[in-house]
């Protein structure tokens, strides 16, 4: 899978080596962990999914009780610029992501080659390889484990929703009135806790399977070391492309999550190109944005509020690597001090030292 050896994977190894930390027992490049089979990845074969939502029920059963109920009355943020978000009275909602619902299934009729093809797409966090949600969390609440799981520590999260803002799919969902911010300055800072799929971390750590993988009657999902899953995904996508009458070389059109946002550990394979799936999802969302309902609807009507999230129902179009520029800039972090030291030791610009008091001791050396 040469195409998949991205600059970042190269950088991972390179930076670790440059820092001389590769041999440390606690610091290992993620790529090396993947090679050692510890970075896990899931594969979703969408042609198998019948849309029964057993996975959704299992996830809700397992994890909804772990999401606390808010205090009452809820603290009112001051100034009132940030919205209080309370899903505690709508725990039954299962057709979108909410703080109490980490997984939903998008039911689609995808127009393809003159036919409408039924397709069901389970949606949750993609567990990105370089997740902006965790990388940019200022408090370390967003975490990346060495098994590839990206999760949010509910004991530390203040609910500022920055992770949602920077997530290209707007996955994390806020529940106000819960969490540690209540013990600090609830009116002035923080606004709850962000929740999302943690790929069943407490179970996976014990060697068990994620609930949604385990209960699926059609074995839609497989989970395993990333390299192995990627090979499996490529083989499957080649077969799907061939069945669809396309060249097997076009297999990447039938895969989602491989390169999106610089690569994820959630790989979807579909029986038709993902461009068609993305268009069907967009149409689905536009149809459900009824006039007068929600932010998306107001945006659609050209209303005052701009569309900021996706209403808990992420799109499936191409996604640029959010952290790409930061990757490039990290090279500057290494080069700048090296250049500074070199300039200093060679007394570049340093010959003009002047003593304020007019003293003649102006040379650097």
């Amino acid at each position: 899978m040469a195409k998949d050896i991205s600059r970042r994977n190269f950088l991972r190894g390179g930076l670790a080596a440059a820092a001389g930390v590769a041999a440390s027992p606690i610091i290992l490049p993620t790529a090396a962990q993947a090679a050692s089979g510890r970075e896990l990845c899931t594969l979703l074969d969408l042609s198998k999914c019948i849309g029964c939502e057993e996975c959704v029920s299992a996830c809700r059963e397992q994890w909804q009780p772990t999401v606390p109920d808010p205090v009452s009355p809820m603290p009112r943020p001051f100034p009132a610029k940030v919205p209080v978000q309370d899903w505690s009275g709508r725990k039954d909602v299962s057709d979108r992501l909410t703080p109490y619902n980490f997984l939903y299934v998008e039911h689609l009729d995808v127009p393809h080659k003159g036919q409408e093809i039924e397709l069901h797409v389970p949606r949750r966090c993609m567990h990105c390889l370089n997740p902006p949600c965790a990388d940019l969390c200022p408090f370390g609440a967003g975490r990346v484990e060495n098994n590839g799981v990206v999760h949010i520590d509910p004991e530390v999260c203040l609910g500022g929703a920055k992770c949602k803002t920077v997530c290209p799919w707007k996955i994390p969902q806020r529940q106000s009135g819960v969490g540690i911010y209540l013990d600090i300055m609830p009116e002035l800072a923080g606004n709850g806790v962000m929740f999302k799929c943690h790929r069943c971390l407490p179970l996976v750590e014990k060697g068990q399977q994620p609930r949604c993988v385990e209960v699926c009657p059609e074995q839609v999902q497989s989970i395993g070391p990333r390299e192995q899953i990627l090979a499996q995904a490529e083989a499957l996508a080649r077969a799907k492309a061939t069945e669809d009458g396309a060249s097997p070389d076009k297999w990447q059109d039938y895969v989602y999550g491989l390169t999106e946002n610089g690569g994820t550990t959630t790989i979807y394979v579909s029986p038709m190109p993902f461009a068609a799936v993305a268009a069907a999802i967009e149409q689905n969302h536009a149809a459900s944005a009824q006039p007068g309902r929600g932010r998306a609807a107001r945006a659609k009507q050209g209303g005052r509020k701009k569309k900021r999230g996706f209403g808990g129902r992420p799109p499936m179009g191409p996604v640029e690597d959010v952290m790409a520029k930061a990757d490039n800039l990290s090279l500057a972090l290494v080069l700048a001090p090296v250049a500074g030291l070199a300039a200093g030791f060679t007394r570049l610009f340093g010959k003009k030292f002047k003593a304020d008091d007019g003293d003649s001791k102006g040379e650097a050396a």
Binding site: K162, L333, P337, A343, G350, K361, A365
Partner: protein
Amino acid sequence: MSKHDYSPGGRVAVWLYGIAIGLALFSGFGQMPLYNRYYLTSVPGLGWSGNFIALSELHYFAAALFMGLVAWRLALDTRAGGTWSWGPRSWWGWSLIALLVLSGGAKALRNAGVFLPPLALMLLDFVHLGSAMAFMFSGLVSLFRPRKKQYLRGGLA
């Protein structure tokens, strides 16, 4: 400690050093989702300050400029003792910079895809925040303290 006040790079370096610190502090504190909440993003011309990705890139840029200048000064320091018209003047200032560079560097490594234990990273996040605040207050004290005293004590704070 000598009484000489060296000014490598002259006014340009002083300004660059100040700009690097200003930008690093602004983009650093902006990593907390406060600028939108407290209407800074509504100030004409500051709408971009709500863009976390842009702020993060600005933080990288400011950090690179800052580390370049500090490394240059450090190298010059080894060749000529004395006090300087810019940069840290005491072990306290150098220690804070060391903490900032180490904790920030660890975070940058993680952002480049290197695995670091999440709990250690959280600790480093707070070390970074704490040392940035200490650096800011020490800097302010140093700026507003009569210059003579600085030389006598030879300190940033």
